[in-house]
Point group: C2
Chain length 417, copies 2
C-alpha cells in the first residue's frame, strides 16, 4: 500500500490551544514519515477541503510548527460550516472523498466540537461505502467543555483560567472602590447552553471573594438573584457577578434579550452583563461596573492553563498514533485517573457515541440555591486551570507565529459551496 | 525634633501597580526608622484620614508588604472623594491637620491622579498656615496617563500592555473566523478624556493586524470611520476596532449615549463598543463581536508591564527619599533619558505645576486621518509595555496578598463627612 497523506482541519470557534493540537498532529506525523506522507491542512477548515484549498504544512519549518504550541487562534483558518445530513447534501460528502482521493489522503484529522465530530463520523462511514476508505479521527476542541465521554475538552481549561483570574483581579478592584463607588461588578462569559465557563468564576470563592454565578442550566429568578446580591453587598461591602451569555428566564428568553432599542428602534445591542448590572442598579441602587470578555477569553493564550496546553498537544499526538494503529471513527479523550494529585491519561471514544451529545453541568456541581459551585465542581475544575505556560514575549508582546500557508496545487475542477 | 510618623493613602480608581508604589513607600520608610516612625495608611483613602480610620502598617510582615508589589487593586481601600476648595470646606482640611497632629504625622504621601495632586498641594500650604507643617508628597498613579511633567504615570504601562496583548490575541481569533463568520471585532477601553489607552491598541499594527483606533481627542466621523473599516475588511478580510469610552461626536455627545432605551424606557445600558459594532453591521453588513474590558484592564496584574511595576515601586521609594531630604509639595516623576535602549530616571516636579493640568495625546501621536498612531507614538509607548513581571501562582490562580489592616486606636471625637 502506498504511503497516504493526512488532512487536518480546524472547525468552529477557535481557542487558545487549538493550534497546540495542530502542533501535536503535525509533529507526530513528521516523526512517522515512513507511514504518513504530507500533512495537508484545510484553508479555513472544511471549506478548504470542499474547494480544494489545501495548505502544504511541509513548507513550514520545525520552529514554526513548534511555535503553534504557544499561538492562539486557528493558524490555518477555521469556519462555521456544518455539513448537512448525508441525505440532504450527499454531493458535499462525495466531493470531500474526491478531494481526498485526488491528493492521496488516507487520514482525516478533524479538530472541533460536537458538530465536527458528527461530520467526522459521517465521512468515515461514507468513504468506506464509496470505496475509498479514510481513517477519520476527531480531535476534541471546545471552550464550552460540552463534549461527552472525555473528562474535559482542550480549550476549556484556558478559558476557565482566564475567567477565574479575571474575576479575582476585578473583585480585588471592586473591593478597593466599594466604600464610595462601585459595589457590584458583573462579568459576562461565554456558554450558550452549558455553564462550565461561568462555573470557573466560582473558583475565586476560595480567595474569599463574594461571587454570584448565573448559569444557563438554572432558570433565572430575578427576585432571588437580587436578594442574594443585596445580602452579599450588605455582608462584604461588594459583590461580583459572573453571568453566562446563555442565562435565561423560565420561558427561555435570554437575559440579553431585554427588548432594548436604540435611537432608531433597532433591537437590543446585546449583552447580558449590562442588563444584569442595570437590574441591580434599579432595584438596589448600587453603583456598578460591567465587562464583556467575549473573544478575549478564548484567545487569551498569554494566561493559558498548562494542563490545557499539555492536553491539547497530547490529544493531537494521540490522534495520529490512533491512526497509525489503524483506528477509525474515534476521538482521543482525556481520562481522569485521580483528582489530587491530578493524574490523567489519554483514552479513546467511538465517534458514534460522541456525535450530537451535549454535556451540561451536573446538577450536583451547582449549589442548591443555583448561584454557586459545589466542592465537587471545585475538585473537578481546579486541576484544569493549573499551571502557567507563558508564550515567549518580545518588545512587550507575545511572539505568536504566522505560518506561510503555502497552497497545494489544485488537481480538480472548481466546486461551489 | 521628635521622630514623625507618615501617612499614606490611595486615591481614585485603583490600578494593577498602585500597591507596588505602596510597597515602595513602606519598605523605604522601614529602612529609615531613625527618621520616620510608623507608616499609617488611610482606610479607604483620604476618608480614612477624615474619620481617623488609620491602618497600622507596622502590623504587617515584611513578606506581606513585599507581596504588595505583585498585588493589584488598593490594599488599604481607595475612594472617590474630592475635597472641595479651601474656601468651600476649610473644615475638612482643618480636620486632616488635626488628625495628623493627634497621630504625630509629619509626612503625607498621597497616591493618586490629578485631583489628589491638588489636594496634596493644598494640605501642604494649609498645614504651614495652621502652624503644623506637614511635608506633602504626591505619588503619581493613573491608568489614564494624563498627569503633566512626568513622562508617564504608573498604572498606565500595565493597562497599555493588557490592551495591546488582548487586541493582538482577539485579532488573531477574528482572522481565523473571518472566512465565514466574524469580520469585525470591537474592543472598548478606558479613557474618558485622553486616548492613551486606546493608542496602545495601535501597537498591534507592527504584528500585521489591521486596526482602527477611535480616540476621544478626535471628533467621531461616522462616514469616514465606516469607509475605513470597509477598506480594511476588503483588503485583509477582517478588522479590529479599539474604541475609547470617551469617543464622541463633534457636538460632544459620547458614542455610548445613543439614546438607547430598555424595555422600561430607561436610558442606555452603556457601552461604546456595542454601538460601534452595530453601526458596522447596519451599514456594512459584517458580522461582529465586541468586548468591553472595563475593570479587567486596570486590574490585570497577571500581565503587568515590568517597566510599569518597576516605576511604580521606584516612585513610591523616591517619595520617601524626597521627604527625607526635606522636600515638600512635590511629586516624583519619570524622566525619559533615551528611547532605545529605554532609559529613565526619577525626577521631581513641584505640585503647583501638576495640580489641575491634564495631558492629552499630542496631535502628532495620532495619524493625519485620526484612526491610528504614528511612529512617534509607537516610540513613546513601546518601552512602557516592555517586560513581564508575573505574580506567583498557586493552584492555577495568582497569589495576591490581603493585609490584616489593623486599626490604629482613635484619639479624637468623631467627624461626619
Amino acid at each position: 500500500m502506498a504511503k497516504k497523506n493526512a488532512f487536518y482541519a480546524q472547525s468552529g470557534g477557535v481557542t487558545a490551544v487549538i493550534n497546540a493540537s495542530a502542533c501535536g498532529v503535525i509533529e507526530t506525523a513528521r516523526k512517522h514519515k515512513d507511514k504518513i506522507g504530507k500533512v495537508y491542512a484545510g484553508r479555513n477548515g472544511i471549506i478548504g477541503a470542499l474547494t480544494e484549498e489545501l495548505i502544504d504544512t511541509t513548507r513550514e519549518s520545525a520552529k514554526a510548527i513548534s511555535s503553534l504550541r504557544h499561538t492562539p487562534s486557528g493558524a490555518f483558518g477555521s469556519c462555521r460550516y456544518k455539513l448537512k445530513s448525508l441525505e440532504a447534501n450527499k454531493r458535499e460528502y462525495e466531493r470531500l472523498i474526491e478531494v481526498f482521493k485526488a491528493h492521496n489522503i488516507g487520514y482525516f484529522f478533524y479538530n472541533g466540537g460536537g458538530d465536527s465530530a458528527d461530520t467526522c463520523y459521517k465521512i468515515s462511514q461514507l468513504s468506506e461505502k464509496l470505496g475509498y476508505p479514510v481513517q477519520a479521527i476527531h480531535v476534541p476542541k471546545t471552550v464550552d467543555n460540552d463534549l461527552p465521554i472525555t473528562d474535559c475538552c482542550p480549550g476549556f481549561g484556558s478559558v476557565a483560567k482566564y475567567i477565574a483570574v479575571s474575576t479575582l483581579e476585578a473583585s480585588f478592584d471592586v473591593a478597593s472602590m466599594s466604600k464610595t463607588s462601585t459595589k457590584v461588578f458583573v462579568l459576562e462569559v461565554m456558554g450558550r447552553h452549558a455553564g462550565w465557563i461561568a462555573a470557573a468564576g466560582g473558583l475565586v470563592e476560595d480567595h474569599g471573594i463574594p461571587v454570584v454565578i448565573l448559569f444557563p442550566e438554572i432558570e433565572f429568578d430575578q427576585k432571588k438573584f437580587l436578594a442574594r446580591v443585596d445580602a452579599m453587598v450588605k455582608k462584604h461591602g461588594y459583590c461580583s457577578v459572573v453571568v453566562s451569555e446563555g442565562c435565561h428566564y423560565p420561558d427561555g428568553k435570554f437575559l440579553a434579550e431585554q427588548g432594548t432599542r436604540d435611537a432608531f428602534g433597532h433591537a437590543q445591542l446585546g449583552g447580558a452583563a449590562p442588563v444584569v448590572a442595570n437590574m441591580v442598579k434599579d432595584a438596589l441602587g448600587y453603583k456598578f461596573h460591567w465587562a464583556v470578555a467575549d473573544y478575549l477569553q478564548r484567545a487569551a493564550r498569554h494566561i493559558a492553563s498548562k494542563t490545557d496546553v499539555d492536553q491539547a498537544y497530547a490529544l493531537g499526538k494521540a490522534a495520529v498514533e490512533l491512526a497509525l494503529k489503524g483506528q477509525n471513527a474515534v476521538m482521543p479523550t482525556v481520562e481522569r485517573v485521580s483528582d489530587n494529585p491530578y493524574k490523567w491519561k489519554v483514552g479513546v471514544a467511538p465517534l458514534s457515541k460522541v456525535a450530537n451529545v451535549e454535556k451540561f453541568m451536573p446538577r450536583d456541581f451547582i449549589t442548591a440555591d443555583g448561584f454557586g459551585i459545589t466542592a465537587k465542581c471545585r475538585t473537578y475544575l481546579l486541576p484544569l486551570i493549573k499551571g502557567e505556560d507563558y508564550p515567549p514575549f518580545k518588545d512587550g508582546l507575545p511572539q505568536y507565529v504566522r505560518l506561510k500557508n503555502v497552497a497545494v496545487p489544485k488537481k480538480l475542477a472548481g466546486f461551489t459551496i
